[in-house]
Amino acid sequence: MSAQPQRVAEAEPANAAPARVLGGVILAVENVSLSFGGVNALSDVSFDVREHEVRAIIGPNGAGKSSMLNVMNGFYQPQRGVIRFRGHAYHGMKPHAAAAMGMGRTFQNIALFRGMTVLDNIMAGRSLKMRRNFFLQLLRWGPALREETEHRRAVEEIIDFLEIQHIRRTPVGRLPYGLQKRVELARALAMEPSVLLLDEPMAGMNIEEKQDMCRFVLEVNEHYGTTIVLIEHDMGVVMDISDRVVVLDYGRKIADGTPDEVRSDQAVIDAYLGVTHS
């Protein structure tokens, strides 16, 4: 049972060339190994992400998908291997440095600023974009005030885009789960990221919420050209919206290719699809 996103209807066969033009490699994972004590979370994983594409990472539970995202934006430091972003190799990147380079992300277990309103959460997403003198901000005067207004406009645009106008003044702790997920996406978008890492953006949602989320993800991708790396469990969603899929199992890469290639790959069927697909 899959949520049917818009794109399939528009672009007809899923394997037809997408309307967007994929660029070169923007982000590459090279021979990354990560272990916690004696547990190998990732073993020698390599793959790349091309600009403007939707790249999915799938795999059974415990395959190392979230670890992979955490390595990509610096939450975890891999023991071996590098992350290459726009051609530069990074060994020990800090998460806030990754954010400064243009990597936005959301979390599997929502990580919002619970005590703050939706608006403040999204404004916090623009922290890196605000550079005006902070004493001027204290006085709410001149260029600082103008800047604040500018950022508010950008944030309102995102709020409109994600259709969360009605909750902008609500503290996020009070929102239902599906909307919290959407606010988290909004906050990541406020960074105007070039790469967006989404950790199970549709987990725990009902069909309707999933369809909305699918639509938003695809619109972000098409509208802003944002490169998207997502982890998702819903096979229907993954096969429909991604350009390429990398499959992990027990911390190793077992397949990499278009949804059709992955779907017919024997190793993947054995490890994963064979079990969950009827």
Partner: protein
Amino acid sequence: MHLLYDIFVSPFAQMVGAPDLLVQTLWDGLVSGVLYALIALGFVLIFKASGVFNFAQGIMVVFAALTLVGLYQHGVPAYAALALTLVVMLVLAFGVERLMLRPLVNQPEIILFMATFGLTYFLIGLGELIFGGDPKVMIASQLGLPSGSYRVTVARGFVQLQKIDIAAAIIASIMVVGLGVLFNRTRIGRALRAVADSHKAALSVGISLEQIWVIVWFAAGVVALATGIMWGARSDVSFALEIIALKALPVLILGGFTSIPGAIIGGLIIGVGEKLGDFYWGPLVGGGIESWFAYVIALVFLLFRPQGLFGERIIERL
């Protein structure tokens, strides 16, 4: 029967009978309340941004005051000494971030709490090593703080208002307003609140925890310096001051660990409460209840509002 009369009737009769004494007691209570509030404020700042209960806040007050006086005694002009002390507090903030918080990042809060114990004893040792252990006199007049007092006539008597206490209240109000604006009106304030809510989310939007920690520890250092000057001007500057850090605990329980207005109101309630309690009900048990009465007030509050007066309401989705 006699006891009930002593508890419920005679103190109030005294209050009505001698309004000047009542006003004086209230004033004294408010003044020590302001100082409790300032100390609690230092705790709240650090707790809000990093979830750490900073046991060292009390010793930071002593350390700041000692540095100020020590520099002056070594021939540095008063205002230059003040500026230099601020620099020392900034260096301390950087040091704490680099040597204590950064290596302990992602450790349980109790570990960080223990680390602040370590910091306390380190600062005591360092302070004694550099400035010696004997009490010093605060350079209040050299800093332009007023001395002497006003006499205000109330009813048939009069009330004495120390000028230094009035100055303390004014400076405390300015600091509170300043911090309120910082927290609620600026990008840095939003980042501070963000870090307080979720470290990983803050990191993911590009907020640097290191930078935020330096800012809050420096802000707490500035508050500590102000507290040290005010408190030092009323008694003297010695390590005994460190004990007042413990007075901040009932204030925090009352005001909530995360609320700046809570720290202020809590401080005033505790200050007034213990002075009134000591003056009117103290004689019943032979006096001297000031030192523990604050904790009783806090305990009673804890029964009815575990999150404090202004603490964030505990909302849990089930």
